[in-house]
Symmetry: C2
Subunit: 392 residues, 2 copies
Amino acid sequence: MPNRSKVQSTTHLSPKMKPLGILGGGQLARMLALKAHELGIPVSVLSEHADDPAAQVTSLWIRGRLDDAETLRTFLSGCSVVTFESEFLDANLLSKLEAATRTSIAPRPADMAALQDRLSQKRLLTQHRLPTSEYFAVATAEEAGQAFESLGGSVGGAVVFKKRRFGYDGYGTFVVRTRKDLKAFLANFDEIPGSEHGFIAERFIPFRRELALMVARSKSGQTTRMPFVETFQKDSRCLWVKGPIKKSPALERLGRSLEKFLGNVGYVGVMGVELFDTGNGLLINELAPRVHNSGHYSMDALSEDQFALHLKCILDLPFEKPEPLSKGFAMMNLLGSSDRAPKWRLPADCKLHWYGKSLNRPGRKMGHYNVLAASPAKALALALKHRNAFKV
Amino acid sequence: MPNRSKVQSTTHLSPKMKPLGILGGGQLARMLALKAHELGIPVSVLSEHADDPAAQVTSLWIRGRLDDAETLRTFLSGCSVVTFESEFLDANLLSKLEAATRTSIAPRPADMAALQDRLSQKRLLTQHRLPTSEYFAVATAEEAGQAFESLGGSVGGAVVFKKRRFGYDGYGTFVVRTRKDLKAFLANFDEIPGSEHGFIAERFIPFRRELALMVARSKSGQTTRMPFVETFQKDSRCLWVKGPIKKSPALERLGRSLEKFLGNVGYVGVMGVELFDTGNGLLINELAPRVHNSGHYSMDALSEDQFALHLKCILDLPFEKPEPLSKGFAMMNLLGSSDRAPKWRLPADCKLHWYGKSLNRPGRKMGHYNVLAASPAKALALALKHRNAFKV
């Protein structure tokens, strides 16, 4: 059994409380809303379309845009606490509205701001001595050329340019391998949408495998973490996750450092952490201030899932360290491959989580399933086998 | 790991399918709807009030009465398959509407009819040679007196009279211990609401403990069962459940007989089975053609919960035998004790399932929580301890 928590929260829940608010109506919002229902937390969703995944699962859906100040103000005023499913919102505006309405937003808009910009995210990692690759800020084509040289691009190493803002699932990432690549990149530099916000440049990291974990901190300071898992990306999109990864002193050390980091920053909520295992060390690739695709396995494979954990963090409720319920687990993303309506046979041992999106589209995340087995490898083999049952 | 199923279902799911319909908007409907969302099954709920537990968790809520033929006909016409959370509906009407709309109802109205009447339920058990206590049909005060004598009431044994219809949680049950009791019961016989439907009379069974289990059968004939659990009733209402009960040849034999029974009857869905363990044998006390309070532990304690299992049965999807995820588990019902709005601190290891009822009321089922531990006894001890955290 997990260790009992020593932190005593005094927060009370009640069905009469103002609802928890979720900004956004996608799959992350949907899974948060379903978990809130389970815990008896009234939940309101702000999104644009009545057929959004999260809009379908609560009677307290509010239609509106996430970039409209008046809509946000009204929504916040009706909620006890507000969270979000994407960090790409106007953090400045949210911060002002938080002060004006006295409805707290968690994670805090300041943390959203720090992590939505890859440059400030890199600075934060460096400042807290968390391992990450060397980087340069790039605002102009000239600086891009200098960064390419400084990072060894001219002596055969590839260099990765990532947009500072609004990049995800590989969008806004440019791998420059040669001087010829560089020339083409620089020639188009000012035409790349979003280039006005600038880029960061990093050395391309040849990794043995990619890892991920979820870390969490509650408002009153309790921290915990989920197991390390291996993630596999195809076309820069998460395809599968397996775990738990065998414990090692280096992983445990990094896990503890990350929990400490959340405490030092005063962060509230769960945070997704993506890592490169270079075979020679661990480098943090990216942080996300929210529930995360790499943590979806927890819905069936751990004693506490990331959605419940996030809700407990932001409502300041105590929690236990999430522990695996089986020796191995795997998560398979169901990515669209056409515009046709999906259909599937449900294998008996697939724990399906479908998002209820109204339209299928190539590459779109339509759902995922989890599989438990006697080892991570066996779970992954089963998960891969079952993929054929889904026409998505 | 559970055994793989040998039954191959060819049913396909699709987000474009007509919704699954649920008759009723209480907690059982709510938990079914939440699980349907997870599996990507569109779900529509028919109930009277917008603040009903299940009405809050789907955008496809329809307002209406479950006893109105036109409402039911319209609802059925819009659904792919319809299920229910209470067996006390007009089975005859549902049967006709099923034929008229060609929307199948599962469990079948005929099975609802057989189980909603305690007399036909007893006959069914006897006919299928399932162990149950001796009984008499009682239509008049005179027959009640005869049954009392025949069951040994006059030589010191207590006799239980149960209304044939609409009895639940102890409502409609009369324990007659003495001739004086009998006289009072007979004097009021014709004034007892529902007495026009008659009673059954049984010998009062002094039991060592009460047990329960869920059995299940899919449309194409796959059957399975959940572990036996011990249940504890206070004031005739389920207070807690603990399990799993240590396996014994007698229990396994009865479990297999019940699965076979479902096959012989052609039943579709999960069925709740309540039992007396007399210390000298097992007697079936009651069957319910639906998800059941005694199976709520499965939401956190088994590899498959009763709600998913029920949906898979009625949609003809394959399933695995639900297996415990820990060595012990317990479920605690949160029964109202006042009219005040409930509030609670959430203990870290409580898996809460709150029903979102708008009003609290003494004895009302407001929610439940599950606890996992290293043994059934430890789980129950924890569950009892945590009850103080809830002001319900």
